[in-house]
């Protein structure tokens, strides 16, 4: 602890700022209009110091972790010496501080006694920002100009007076201004809450002590991070994974490659070796790559490390310009979420070499996005958008979760009943799938599938998914999860589709997606037979798969394990192995 900061005052001050960041988030959550914010929680709130270092982030979207500083730096580059009380700044341009166009970053400088002491920040994914496709989220755009309205760092409010030029420009360029302005109001309200609270804290402790404590908040986090990093083994750990394709150049896999270098109390993620940027809109800005890398390392640090930029002083993230991990103009990036999820799996793969007892096998690879849009008979437009994922890889200490959000985006499921009431779609099923989880001592999570039936004459259906050709990997002898799938009319001709698809559907058509299964962790022959029995009884694993993958024979009449048969079968399986060593990573089934 720095000598001049009182440890009690510091704890109180820190607590107050984090509570405020959470309170900002509650306000956004409760007042938002868009499913992306309310259900996918695709927003974040934070407080920075006067220089733009995040000192407290609310419990919101991990994918925004570390992105605020980049965005605020872009604002400061223009306006650092030209800020007044009640100014509000916004931006969304990925090539000047943003992540992708739907994310509007908002900053309100907070003044106390005439001096700038902090910024209140709120980033929110808007339901639409214009461009060629409703929702501004298409995976198959090929340049940023197709993706919507680009807002460079600009004043939305000038000393409390609204910038009508910008306001009207936004209004003309988005499809659903009522929703967008509703959400912008929510962002403004969040910033006002923070302004009030930060001022109260500065008044209470005084300007200089408040500044010292803000510095200490960063130092404190940095100390905790470095302490935790020191406990991990030094070394260089790399990992390679592949995205199926970008939805434009079908069937052309895209390489992700990361090298993690850990030395003492520092760690670096180097994405050199990843593919050149692609034509489709799945390119990541460096801030996305950084946020993903931070999330990976953050997930193996102790839970009590505060979420602020102090962590990032010990973490370096680099990627060559013009790659999928660091897009340059005019690359498209609206659907960069897909790449971010896959980068998280890739980063975890490298970290699994460093901390094998902490890191899980591959998840489902992030969410499947579906949008169903068009016009009703009365020409009124509809657009239904849903992003869902929910399967974790097996862990060194437990099975992978099923029906649980991804670490990178803690999103909630939308209710099928509400979706049906509000949109011309019917949801016929949303259920776990048997025998799709990767086998392992700790198996991967079982994925689920969902069937949608179109109820309008005609609708444009777009699906964005992945891991059809590159399955979720298993670790330490665990098997990979089953691939994902997209199927048109599964009970009537069953046409299998690619992982990214845009098509016209008609009334009665049924579209199914199946999530990939989580990868397994550890030798399936080591799995406790009682757990296998339970999975069989719950129909997550079939009796045949229990024998084939786990060497466990289940008596399905009495619901018991046939111990003798199991021992024999497992012994034969082990004897048939050519080597005792378990592979670190497994991509495909044996034979």
């Amino acid at each position: 602890m720095s000598g001049h900061v009182d440890p009690i005052d510091f704890e109180l001050f820190k607590n107050a700022l984090f509570a405020t960041a959470d309170e900002m988030a509650v306000t956004v959550c409760r007042t938002t209009y868009s499913g992306v914010l309310r259900d996918n929680m695709d927003f974040s709130t934070s407080i920075t110091d006067a220089a733009g270092n995040v000192i407290a982030q609310g419990l919101t979207l991990p994918m925004h972790l570390g992105s605020v500083r980049t965005a605020l730096a872009a604002v400061l580059a223009h306006y650092d010496h030209d800020m007044r009380e009640s100014d509000v700044f916004v931006l969304n341009d990925p090539f000047e501080g943003g992540m992708h166009l739907p994310d509007i970053f908002m900053f309100k400088p907070v003044f106390a006694g005439g001096e700038r002491v902090a910024f209140a920040c709120c980033t929110a994914h808007q339901a639409d920002i214009g461009g060629r496709v409703p929702g501004s989220n298409a995976a198959d755009s090929t340049e940023i100009y197709q993706e919507g309205l680009r807002i460079p760092p600009m004043r939305l409010f000038d000393a409390g007076k609204r910038n009508e030029t910008l306001w009207r420009l936004i209004e003309r360029n988005v499809r659903i201004p009522v929703q967008v302005f509703g959400d912008i109001r929510a962002q403004l309200a969040a910033c006002e809450i923070a302004e009030r609270e930060i001022r109260a804290q500065v008044t209470r402790y005084g300007m200089e002590p408040a500044r010292s404590m803000m510095r200490e908040m960063l130092d404190y986090t940095e100390r905790m991070t470095r302490t935790a990093l020191r406990a991990l083994p030094d070394g260089e750990y790399d990992f390679e994974d592949w995205i199926d394709d970008d939805g434009v150049d079908f069937g052309a896999p895209i390489r992700l490659f990361v090298t993690v270098r850990k030395s003492g109390d520092r760690i670096a993620f180097d994405w050199d070796g990843s593919a050149p940027q692609v034509r489709g809109a799945i390119n990541a800005t460096l801030s996305v790559t950084a946020a993903t890398s931070f999330t990976a390392i953050r997930s193996i640090l102790p839970a009590d490390v505060p979420n602020n930029d102090g962590t990032f002083r010990a973490v370096e993230v680099t990627a060559p310009c013009g790659t999928i991990a660091n897009v340059v103009q005019p690359g498209a990036c609206a659907a960069r979420g897909l790449t971010a999820f896959r980068m998280l799996d890739c980063a975890f793969g490298a970290l699994a070499k460093m901390a094998p007892d902490q890191v899980c096998a591959a998840s489902d690879g992030g969410n499947v996005g579906i949008s169903v849009g068009g016009y009703r008979a009365d020409r009124s437009p509809f657009i239904y958008v849903d992003f869902t994922c929910g399967t974790w890889g097996g862990r060194p200490f437990a099975d992978g979760l099923e029906g649980n959000a991804n670490l990178l985006a803690n999103m909630a499921a939308q209710s099928a009943e509400v979706s049906e009431l509000e949109n011309p779609v019917e949801i016929l099923a949303s259920e776990l799938v048997t025998d799709h989880c990767g086998a392992g001592r700790f198996r991967g999570g079982a994925p689920f599938y969902r069937d949608y039936r179109v109820r309008e004459e005609e609708a444009t259906v777009q699906i964005r998914s992945d891991r059809q050709t590159h399955r979720p990997y298993g670790l330490h002898g665990g098997r990979p999860g089953a691939p994902g799938a997209v199927v048109l009319n599964p009970d009537d001709g069953a046409k299998t589709l690619t992982s990214k698809v845009t098509m016209t559907c008609h009334r009665g058509d049924v579209v199914r997606w199946v999530l990939p299964g989580g990868g397994g962790w550890g030798d399936p022959l080591e799995r406790d037979p009682k757990r296998v029995l339970r999975d069989v009884r719950n129909e997550l694993v079939s009796p045949a798969a229990a024998e084939r993958d786990y060497g466990v024979v289940v008596d399905t009449g009495r619901w018991t394990v046939d111990d003798a048969a199991t021992d024999g079968l497992r012994a034969r399986r082990r004897a048939a192995r050519t080597t005792d060593a378990l592979p670190f990573v497994t991509w495909n089934d044996p034979d």
Binding site: M1, P7, F10, E11, L12, N15, F18, A19, D22, E23, A25, V26, T27, C29, R30, T31, T32, S34, R38, L59, T60, Q179, G182, A186, A189, I193, Y220, R223, M224, A228, R298, S299, I300, P302, A303, D304, N307, V359, C360, R395, E402, G403, N404, A405, L407, N410, A412, A413, S415, A416, E417, V418, E420, L421, A429, S430, E431, L432, F448, D451
Partner: protein, 696 residues
């Protein structure tokens, strides 16, 4: 012959019993909660109190009961073996939940296990549309097959929740009939009867929880009733519901989902009633015990309610932003925010070198170091002892001896010396950090909802509420603090103030400006008819039944609703317009902004609350309590750097009747109240200690 009313509140370690006669005389008793058989403990406890005070069973008019039997069944996963019948394609709604988890960056997270395992969830082939039309009829044979499969597995109860049944329960009714045919005595709950509202996960979860605890609650209430009857105690037994109203035991046994948060609600009910007697309409209740602190907001004399909460999700820390930790219930409940901070919370230093309080707790065993029961980690209570706030020799009028030296040594060794602080600075710091943690609960119910805590009085109770009340008030800028009599037993007291209440609701989901007023009117009238019928069945005549209407509204597209009162009488176009306007005002009040007039406002849920009215106040204004205060005199106590150590008088509550000023310590059998320098203290007509902080 006297006329007694009895409140019985089961807590984690103690069961509190309070008897009140018509003249306001109070008898109270703490007994150990015998977990194996709560019902027997209550009956025996009553018997011994009756014997001691010469109470005849016939003198008892009614028994009000707050119970943890339902929540414990959930927390301990000790409910019934339940089978669930659901729609084909939706077998896993209960397990998939809302996908969201309550923690970020946590690779070790485990979901709570589903209350019905997958092999006990069966599906039937049927479909009802969102508009309520039967798209695919349910064959009776198919229902019979699904039910038989569950019966073969030996289920003890069956829950039925089909997709879109909120719009038309016809298929759920078929399944229920089949259950009655095949297993006439088996409890069976359909989702339409438990919660006729949209959202399949919320409705399924609520229905399953109801079914899961039903046999346990039913058995418990039957045992209790039989035990009471056997002692000739024939008074009606009323159960506290999560929503703050009482319900007859028989009704509680059929809808136990309503009594899950029975215990914590009672304290808020008491806070509202006692504050009202003292002329305070706006208070924040603050209930601090050994492991948790809870807060709730009372505004204009009414509770704030929530319609969605989780049981067993662990203690809420931070804000209520992240959900998914427990078992979700969508039934009306008093809105309580809870943090894991109490007297037993452990004081320690984290790896960054900062002082932390909790979330680990020393609990009742080994408890704080000063109890001498083997605890070695200093706690918030040890800090209170070291600061001289708590009696250095004993608590509970001598029943619990205290070793103050042990507290001081533990704090010195584990906190003060490593941080380079004096002992008092470290102990005071622990107190302040605990306060900062607990403030999160108060903010969650106030500033997070656009309410400024400074506009409210702080109503403090629970074993530690009075000790921390002034500190909390100071941090929040609140001026008035009320500490009721017997603050440590106050939840049992709260039961005596409650009235019979029944809540009914229905999904509407219509935009107000397009809605047909007559159809909205019909929905409210139907709900009122249900409430009225239940109150009549409870024995209230027409003059003693009252209904109030409320609406859950939002701007179309929002996910959270705000509750707004709806006027009685026929609903017409003007009424709907007025509703639109009150929603706009409430939105501005809560969130600081409202939308323009062009934005559609949607009525999501219609709600009716039926109340059974008594002829006179439930509790006399002036209570007479036996004064078991043991100590008076003075001791040195620490009040922060500004005041330092002060030789502080230790007084009885009665001594402040004519008014007094801090510093002083009011020491009582069940709690200790700290009055810092500058704070005025008086005792009002109802016996409440009223503290007023000076103007800033």
């Amino acid at each position: 012959m006297k006329n007694y009313r009895i409140g019985v509140d089961i807590g984690g370690t103690f069961t509190d019993i309070v008897l009140l006669d018509d003249d306001g005389n109070v008898i109270s008793r703490k007994i150990s909660s015998s977990v194996e058989n709560y019902a027997r403990a209550i009956v025996e406890g009553l018997e011994s109190v009756f014997a001691e005070h010469g109470v005849a069973p016939r003198e008892v008019a009614e028994i009000m009961h707050g119970t943890t039997v339902a929540s414990n069944a959930i927390l301990e996963l000790a409910g019934a073996r339940v089978g669930l019948v659901t729609s084909k394609g939706f077998r896993d709604v209960l397990e998939l939940r809302n996908l969201r988890m309550p923690r970020l960056y946590d690779l070790t997270w485990e979901k709570p296990p589903p209350l019905v395992e997958r092999y006990l969830r069966t599906v039937v082939d049927e479909r009802v549309s969102a508009a309520g039309e039967v798209v695919r009829p349910l064959a009776r044979d198919d229902a019979a097959r699904a039910v038989r499969r569950l019966l073969d597995e030996g289920v003890e109860a069956i829950a039925v929740c089909l997709v879109n049944s909120y719009a038309n329960p016809v298929h759920e009714r078929v399944v229920a009939e089949v259950v009655r045919e095949l297993a006439p005595d088996l409890p069976c709950c359909t989702s339409f009867d438990v919660l006729p509202e949209i959202k399949e996960y919320e409705r399924t979860s609520t229905t399953v929880v109801n079914t899961y605890v039903l046999p346990i609650v039913e058995r418990y209430l039957n045992t209790l009733r039989t035990g009471l009857d056997a002692r000739d105690l024939r008074a009606p037994l009323l159960i506290m519901q999560s929503n703050g109203g009482l319900t007859p035991a028989a009704e509680a046994a059929t809808k136990p989902v309503n009594i899950v948060e029975s215990g914590p609600a009672a304290g808020v009910v008491g806070a509202r009633a006692v504050a009202r007697q003292s002329g305070l309409e706006n208070v924040i209740s603050f209930d601090m015990g050994g492991t948790t602190a809870k807060a709730s907001l009372v505004e204009r004399g009414e509770y704030t309610r929530t319609r969605e909460y989780s049981v067993g999700g662990g203690i809420m820390t931070g804000s209520r932003l992240l959900t998914g930790g427990g078992y979700l219930l969508n039934v009306p409940a008093i809105d309580l925010a809870e943090v894991g901070a109490g007297g037993g919370s452990i004081v320690h230093i984290d790896t960054g070198g900062s002082m932390q309080v909790g979330p680990r707790s020393a609990g009742a065993r080994p408890g704080p170091v000063c109890y001498g029961l083997g605890g070695t980690a200093p706690t918030v209570t040890d800090a209170g002892v070291a600061l001289g706030h708590l009696n250095p020799s004993f608590l509970c009028a001598g029943e619990l001896p205290i070793n103050a030296d042990a507290s001081r040594r533990a704090l010195e060794d584990t906190v003060a010396r490593p941080l380079g602080l004096t002992l008092e600075h470290a102990a005071w710091g622990a107190r302040q950090v605990a306060i900062a943690n607990m403030i999160r609960a108060i903010r969650a119910v106030s500033s997070e909802r656009g309410r400024d805590p400074r506009d409210y009085a702080l109503f403090a109770f629970g074993g530690n509420g009075a000790l921390f009340a002034t500190g909390m008030a100071e941090e929040l800028g609140m001026r008035t603090i009320v500490v009721p009599p017997a603050a440590g037993l106050f939840s049992a007291f709260g039961l005596l103030y409650a009235e019979i209440e029944h809540h009914y609701s229905r999904t509407v989901r219509r935009v107000l400006r397009d809605a047909d007023p007559a159809s909205i009117d019909a929905i409210y009238r139907d709900l009122e008819a249900q409430a009225d019928a239940q109150l009549a069945a409870d024995g209230f005549d027409t003059g003693h039944r009252a209904c109030t209407r409320t609406a859950m509204l939002h701007y179309q597209g929002q996910i959270y609703e705000l509750e707004v009162p709806v006027s009685t009488g026929r609903i017409d176009r003007a009424g709907l317009n007025a509703l639109t306007e009150s929603f706009g005002r409430e939105h501005a009040h809560t969130y600081g902004h409202r939308a323009g007039a062009e934005e559609p406002v949607e009525l999501v849920t219609a709600q009716v609350l039926g109340r059974g009215l008594g002829d006179r106040p439930r509790v006399p204004e002036r209570l007479r309590l036996a004064d078991r205060n043991a100590e008076s005199g003075s001791r040195r106590a620490y009040f922060g750097r500004m005041h330092g150590w002060i030789d502080t008088p230790v007084v009885a509550r009665a001594a402040l009747g004519g008014g007094g000023e801090g510093p002083c310590i009011v020491e009582e059998y069940d709690s200790t109240c700290l009055v810092p320098p500058g704070v005025r203290a008086t005792v009002d007509a109802s016996g409440n200690l009223v503290l007023t902080r000076p103007d800033p």
